[in-house]
Structure formats: structure tokens, C-alpha cells
């Protein structure tokens, strides 16, 4: 009568086995590893060739490794000891970055799970520990959006000046005033023609008529909401790209750089202790420069032999060819307002479309007119060091401020170059508004404390439950243990970040989850007290308790979800685990415990007594 059908037992069994499988990696601990990832946004890591290179380099140096793993962005090699790890880092560093001044790859020390390879191959990874458990730095950066918008308005004001002059519309002054641009005119007729000219020119501006202080007609231009939104999204995206490039220099194994909300960026650098250096790097900016290529016959060869002509510099182009570039700067990144990947209108080749501001457009038009057939170089200057991104041949005069870079690029490269150009030239200022640093010793201590709390709490509950409910208590404890197992497995599978509040949530969830089993056991006792047969008492106990368990878990879940929605930082870490724990506890407290009870008692036809502790009956 109290039997689960085979499929149900099987299902519960499978869930538990899968749970065990995904919990396993957490028991193995971590081993030292060296991680190689791309140090430049333009360089994509090729997993198989990188793996082969690492293997060869280590074999040549006679350093034994215990496995090389590749994922999308990095390749990692494991070692038995930290000594080997450090030796290996040197070897790999030398192989991948022959020129230490210009590293192409980030070679960093890391820790990898020591779990066997077959576990890693089914994606069973240990829980992802938060910074408060592993140590490191957390920054929250606020992007100065008003700053980005005023910057744009300033360049728009300059554009309008050029536009009105080109169109022959006379104005009496253009000024940016807060978040709008005021253009003044002598009479309303001029204003109308100016309005028509501006509307033809751009859709980003909202225009309104107004009478100025001395009754002069004015045109007030503000950015449309759409345009503002685009500028903001753009500023954020580009700042994230810049940060990625910067942080690569730090050699952090697993940096997290994420957007948070509309105007914030979270940067997490596990293992980094040198906060001052991290802050310096986050704050730096890069610039873009356009210069002409020195094509004097014989100059390049002379330069490669060590005789660089006066007024020129030698650079290596992407693709490895040497290039001699003049020192005189034609145009800087300040003049660039946008860079987008796209396609050439005629050849359908991937291309990058640049938009220059008015002054930049004029300069560019003049330079290209005078240098048709010559090459110009676009350089990214970072840390006082330049890199030639591209050096195209000028085919015709380019006016209007819209420039296209094309030729021998893949779509991916076009996207990367566009991102790089934006990153190098357009960073909106950022400010650190939150910082959290946790030392490595505190992190290890936090893990230990969290673990101890859970362990002792669990032991106390287990001892009590078994003493009070005997066999049913044991069943409850096994159910509670399987709850812990499933929760840890779920956290490992989702790779949700586990923090100290998260560990507290695990402990608390276990403490609360026992409620369901107490409800069930009390109900069974009550049924027995009222004279039900043992088998009927089990059935009734589980069935009657179910509604209550459901209700109470849903109310707890409501609180958990509210925390998840509105929580940030430590609260969110707590809420994620709490919500998951409520769900796993429903499964284990009801299904797992019932399965065990059914397996123990279900087949006994003549069941006299349940081992559920003393059932006191009032003696009448």
C-alpha cells in the first residue's frame, strides 16, 4: 500500500546520483595551474594550437603537467606543486611572449579544480567562490553619463557651426548651455532656414523656437531621447572594452567585467592584492592617432637596419609587416565620434565605418585630397606605446566626416577594430563608487567558519532528530543530507557565485527545511494516537502535511524572491542560495523521505509498530 511505482523510485535515484556527481568536484580541492589567455582584443585564442604549443614548451623544458584544458577564452595547464607551476609560468611566458615589452598573451597563475578529468569533461565543476571567500578586489564604477552627453553636445555645437557656414545661413552665435545648444539669429527667417538645414543634416536633435534675452530669435537644440540612449549605451560598451584591455595587463586569471544597471560597471579581480596598481590601470586612457606613412623609397629598409629617418618611427603592422610612420599627427581620437563595423557598399567586404566631428572632417578632407594614392596609418596609443591597427591606401578625397576602413579584414576583425577604436578614443570618465577588498587569509577563514557553522548545526539537528523520532528521524536526516547534496550540486551546475552570506543561507535553509519532516513526523504520530493503523498513518501523515509544507514554503519563497529582485551584493548571494534551497528542500523532504519510508515499511503487510519514537496517548 505504501509503495512508490518503480519509475518514481528510479527518478529520485537518478536525481540523487546526478546530484552526487555534480557535488563531487567540490571535495577534490584545487591544484596550481597556469592560464594563458589573449592579451589583445584583436588576437583570438586558438584553443588547439595553443594547447599544442604549451604541451611542446613544457615537454621541452621537462616540466610534467597533469592535464591541459581549453575553454573559449583561455587554456590552462595543471601542475602538482606550486614550484612546478612557477617554473612552468616562466617557460610559457617566454614561449608566448618573446617580447616582454609587447605581450600578446596574458600568462597568469591560477587555481584549478583537482577533480579527475572525466568529471571536468561532463562539466562537473566545483562551486564558483565569491571574492569574500577567495580574496580579491571588487570595484563598482560609475560611468559619467552627463559627461558623455556634454562631450557629444560640444562636438555637435562645432558641427552646427560648420554646417550653417557651409549652407550660408548666418547666425549670431552658437553656445552650449547645460544639456542644450542655443543658436541665435538676427531674424526669424534665418532661423527657419537654419532649422531646415539642421533637420536635413541630422535626426539626433530636437529643435525648438525660443526668444532670447534681448528678443533675438533662438533655436534650442536638445538631443532626442533615442540619441541620448544610444550615446549612453555606446559609452558603457566602450568603457567595458577599454577595461578588458587594461585588466589583461594585470595578468588576472578570471576577471569579471560586467554591466550593472544603465550606467555602472562591476569589475572583480580575484586574487589581486595590489589595489593601488589596479586602480591606476582602471583609470588610464588610450588615444587614437591618424598619421601618414613614410613612403620615401629606401627609408623603410634603412629603418629596418637601424637607421630610422628623422621625423619617422618604425612600427609593426598587424600581420607582422614593418611600417615606417611619420611622427606628425594628422588627427587624434578626440575627433572621432563613432566607429561601427559594417560592409563596403560596393565590394561587400567587411569594413569599419568611422564618423568624425566637423573639425575632424575638414582636416581629413584636406589631408586625403593632398595624399591620394598614399597610405595613412591609424594607431592606437596606449601607455605611451603605439600599435598600428590598419594602414590603408587613400583612394579618393574623403569629405563629410564619414570614413571607411576596409581591406583584408574578416567580419570579426572589423568588429574588433571598431571596438578598439571606440575604446581607445571615447572613454567617458568613470568613478569608483564602491570597493571591496578581501585578503586571502580572511577568505580562507570565511570558508572555514561557514563550513564549521553548517557542520555543527547539521550535527546537532541530526542528533536531535534521531533521538526524538528514531528511524523516522534517521530518514529525515538522510532527506536533509540529500537536500544539502542537491543544493551544492545545483550551485555547482549553475556556477552561481557562492559567498559567505550564501553559506549562511545554506545553513539557514537546512535549519528551515527540517520543518517539513517535523510536520510529517508529527502528523504520523498524531494519526497513530488517534488509532490509525501504521500504514494508514504514514499515508495520511504525508498527505495531510503536504498542503502545509507547500504553503509555508511558498511564503518563504516570496521573501526569497523579493530579496533576489531588490538585493545587491551580499544580499543577492544570500537570496540565490535561499531560493534554490527552498526548492531542493521540497523535493528531498517529501519525495526522498517518502521513498525511504516506503522502502522500509511499504512491503510489510502486517505492520504492528512504527519506529517513530514514543506515541503518548492520553489515558482515559
Amino acid at each position: 500500500m505504501n509503495r512508490y511505482p518503480l519509475w518514481k523510485n528510479l527518478m529520485i535515484g537518478i536525481v540523487l546520483v546526478v546530484g552526487l556527481l555534480y557535488t563531487l568536484p567540490n571535495f577534490y580541492g584545487e591544484v596550481p595551474a597556469v592560464q594563458v589567455s589573449s592579451g589583445k582584443a584583436t588576437l583570438k585564442l586558438d584553443a588547439s594550437s595553443t594547447t599544442a604549443r604549451i604541451e611542446q614548451a613544457l615537454a621541452a623544458a621537462g616540466i610534467p603537467q597533469t592535464g591541459i584544458f581549453a575553454d573559449q577564452n583561455s587554456v590552462r595547464a595543471r601542475f602538482d606543486t606550486t614550484d612546478l607551476q612557477l617554473q612552468a609560468k616562466d617557460v610559457i611566458e617566454r614561449t608566448f611572449n618573446p617580447d616582454p615589452a609587447d605581450p600578446d598573451y596574458v600568462v597568469a597563475l591560477n587555481l584549478l579544480s583537482a577533480s579527475p578529468n572525466w568529471l571536468t569533461s561532463v562539466n562537473a565543476l566545483p562551486m564558483y567562490l565569491g571574492l569574500d571567500l577567495r580574496g580579491g578586489v571588487h570595484f563598482l564604477l560609475q560611468v559619467d553619463m552627463p559627461g558623455a552627453i556634454t562631450k557629444r553636445l560640444d562636438s555637435t555645437a562645432a558641427d552646427l557651426r560648420t554646417l550653417l557656414r557651409d549652407q550660408g545661413v548666418r547666425h549670431s552665435g552658437i553656445e552650449r548651455d547645460g544639456r542644450s545648444i542655443a543658436v541665435r539669429f538676427r531674424d526669424a527667417g534665418l532661423r527657419d532656414s537654419a532649422r531646415r538645414a539642421i533637420e536635413r543634416f541630422t535626426g539626433d536633435l530636437q529643435l525648438a523656437d525660443r526668444d532670447g534675452p534681448d528678443a533675438m530669435p533662438e533655436l534650442v537644440a536638445t538631443l532626442t531621447q533615442q540619441a541620448e540612449k544610444t550615446i549612453q549605451e555606446f559609452a558603457l560598451k566602450q568603457n567595458i572594452t577599454t577595461l578588458h584591455n587594461r585588466i589583461n595587463e594585470l595578468g588576472v586569471a578570471e576577471p569579471v567585467i560586467q554591466q550593472q544597471g544603465a550606467d555602472r560597471i562591476v569589475v572583480q579581480l580575484p586574487g589581486v592584492q595590489d589595489v593601488a596598481k589596479a586602480k591606476d590601470i582602471l583609470g588610464r586612457t588610450a588615444t587614437l592617432e591618424v598619421r601618414m606613412v613614410d613612403e620615401t623609397p629606401g627609408a623603410l629598409e634603412a629603418a629596418m637596419n637601424g637607421q630610422v629617418p628623422f621625423g619617422s618611427e618604425l612600427y609593426t603592422e598587424r600581420g607582422g609587416r614593418e611600417l615606417l610612420v611619420k611622427k606628425q599627427v594628422v588627427l587624434t581620437g578626440d575627433r572621432l565620434t563613432d566607429a561601427q563595423p559594417g560592409f563596403d557598399g560596393q565590394t561587400q567586404e567587411p569594413a569599419v565605418h568611422l564618423t568624425l566631428d566637423a573639425a575632424g572632417s575638414r582636416i581629413f578632407r584636406d589631408v586625403t585630397r593632398e595624399n591620394v594614392g598614399k597610405r595613412m596609418a591609424i594607431l592606437l596609443i596606449e601607455k605611451g606605446k603605439g600599435e598600428v591597427i590598419t594602414a590603408p591606401v587613400i583612394r579618393t578625397e574623403i569629405g563629410g566626416g564619414r570614413v571607411q576602413i576596409s581591406g583584408q579584414m574578416t567580419t570579426q576583425e572589423a568588429t574588433d577594430v571598431a571596438l578598439l577604436l571606440r575604446a581607445g578614443s571615447l572613454a567617458a570618465p568613470m568613478e569608483i563608487i564602491e570597493e571591496r577588498t578581501v585578503g586571502p587569509s580572511l577568505g580562507a577563514e570565511n570558508i572555514e567558519k561557514g563550513f564549521d557553522s553548517t557542520l555543527w548545526g547539521f550535527a546537532a539537528i541530526a542528533a536531535f532528530m534521531i533521538a526524538y523520532y528514531l528511524l523516522f528521524g534517521l530518514v529525515s536526516v538522510i532527506a536533509l543530507a540529500s537536500n544539502l547534496l542537491l543544493l551544492v550540486a545545483l550551485l555547482s551546475m549553475l556556477q552561481a557565485t557562492l559567498t559567505l552570506p550564501g553559506i549562511a543561507a545554506i545553513a539557514l535553509t537546512l535549519g528551515m527545511a527540517i520543518d517539513a519532516n517535523v510536520l510529517i513526523n508529527e502528523r504520523i504520530r498524531e494519526e497513530l494516537r488517534n488509532g490509525s493503523s501504521p500504514q494508514a498513518a504514514i499515508t495520511a501523515g504525508y498527505e495531510r502535511a503536504f498542503d502545509t509544507i507547500l504553503d509555508s514554503n511558498i511564503t518563504t519563497l516570496i521573501a526569497g524572491i523579493a530579496l533576489l529582485v531588490f538585493g545587491s551584493g551580499p544580499v543577492r548571494g544570500f537570496a540565490v542560495v535561499h531560493c534554490l534551497g527552498i526548492m531542493t528542500s521540497m523535493f528531498s523532504a517529501i519525495l526522498v523521505s517518502r521513498m525511504l519510508v516506503n522502502l522500509i515499511y511499504g512491503r510489510k503487510r502486517k505492520l504492528e509498530k512504527l519506529s517513530i519514537g514514543q506515541v503518548w496517548k492520553p489515558s482515559n
Binding site: L140, Q142, V275, K279, E431, I432, I433, E434, E435, R436, T437, V438, G439, L442, N446, K449, D452, S453, T454, W456, G457, F458, A460, I461, F464, M465, A467, Y468, P501, A504, L508, L510, G511, D515, V518, L519, E522, R525, D547, T548, D551, S552, N553, T555, L557, I558, A559, G560, A562, L563, G567, S568, G569, F574, H578, G613, Q614, V615, W616, P618
Partner: protein
Amino acid sequence: MEFFRIKNDIPFMRHALVFNVISLLTFVLAVLFLATRGLNLSVEFTGGTLVEVHYSEAPQLEPIRRALSDDGYPDAQVQNFGSARDVLIRLPNRDGLESSRVSEKVMTTLSAVDGGSPELRRVEFVGPQVGKELAADGAMALLLVVVGIMVYLALRFEWRFSVAAIIANLHDVIIILGFFAFFQWEFSLAVLAAVLAVLGYSVNESVVVFDRVRETFKKKRGMDTPQVLNHAITRTISRTVITHGSTQMMVLSMLLFGGETLYYFSLALTIGILFGIYSSVLVASPLVMWLGVSREQFMKPKQEKQEAVV
């Protein structure tokens, strides 16, 4: 083993007024402390910088204070944290201070003080704009929990139950806050999480009792409302005490082994659990009675649901 050998239903409802007066008094006291002393909000809410350092030997706090004061931080709070060798330094945000650089400067100052080199354990810097948002988010979370639980209970039971449960449990929240105000314990984000978790947890206590009330109304026709409530509470009291005892064991374990970080978190939970038992059983049930719950409401559930919407 069986703790509770209760023959007849305990007449809880006879003393309903007493329970509620006690409750009301604690509530008023809590509000009073909150109003006069206020909460000792952590850096997360107020904004500012917090630096925790560890020394190999217990340092003198006075030289540290003096050094910080000399280096331009007269408003620095320096205190021991957990042990005599751990020192916590708090600095408020103020104008004219490049706040994102404060932690490094403090470390430089500390290293210059005689008596052992400090090891940096933890830095928390929260800008002024973030703190306000966190406080607002906390309030929104509280509101969402209250509304969510009320709607759920109203749908599942009856509006009288949802009102009673929320009043009883919100008063728990105020009492926890009252304790934090009275003792000036630090109110951090983790404590806020604990408070909201308690809200969900002790409502579930009321739910268990209410479930029994509904069941008793349906099954035992001879009883009047107070008797039904007495019966429901008596029948569930064993479970109530054992469950809360188990949860409390876990929380106690965190209180003892969890270290400073989890200390106030588990303290908030402890108060919440203790008052939760009391209020969700002995306050919520009388409220339901006074709000006029009766058997008829459960006999014709469909009509009642319409009323519940109003």
C-alpha cells in the same frame, strides 16, 4: 521521547488580550528605541570606508588613532574587531576627500605606526550615492514581501488570515529593529537579509496554525471559534517548538562558529525566531478571532473569495 503530552486543548484564547498587550508594549518600546536611538547603520548604507587589518601582536589603539588624526582623518573610528589583534577603522565620506583612495592612504599611515606591521584583511568603500540606493532597495524588498505574502494568504485562505499574519510578523520585524537600535548593534545588508528571511519564515509559522484552523473548522462542527483556535494551536505546538528549536540550533551554530561576519546576521535571526513563535501563534490567532473569522467562511469558500478581493 515525546515532549508534549497535552490531554486537553490549552485555552490560549482566554489570555488573548494579555498576549496582545505584552506584544503591543514590546512593539511600542521598539518604536521608541528606533525613534530615539536610531539604527547603527553599516558603511553599506551610510557610505564611507572601512578598513580591517590584522596584527601579529595586539596593537595599541591610541597611537593608531593619533596617527590617523595627524594624517588628516580626525573623524576616524578605530576599534578592535573580534580579537585584540584585529582592528577595524571606519571613515565617513566627506567632501574634499578623494574617497576612492582613502584605503591606501590609511594603510600607509598604519604601516608608519610603531608596533608591528598590519596585514590588510578587508576594505569596503561605499560611495554616497550607493548607500541611499541600498536603503531604498531594502525598503522596496520589504514592501514586496509584505504585499506578496498578503496576496498569497488572501487567495489561499481568507483576507482575515492574511491581515492577521502580516500584522503579527511586521511587528516581529519592528522588534528586531528595536533590539538593534537599543543595543546599537551594527545594521548591515546581511542583517537586512536576515530580517526579510525571518519575515518569510515566521509567516510560515502562522500558515501552519491557520492550516489547522481551517481543517478544524471543516471537521469539528461542535466547537466555537475560540475553541477551534485553541485546538489548532495545541495540536501544532509540538511541531512549532521542535521546528523552531531545530532552526535555532543551526542559527546558534552560526552564532558560535560563524565569526564576526555572521554574528549580527544570526543574532537577528535568533530574535526573529523567538519572537516569531510568540507572535505568529499567540498574536496572529487572536487577531484572526477579533477580525471575526467563523465557520461559515470556510463552508462557502467561493463567496468568500469574492469578498477577499474587496
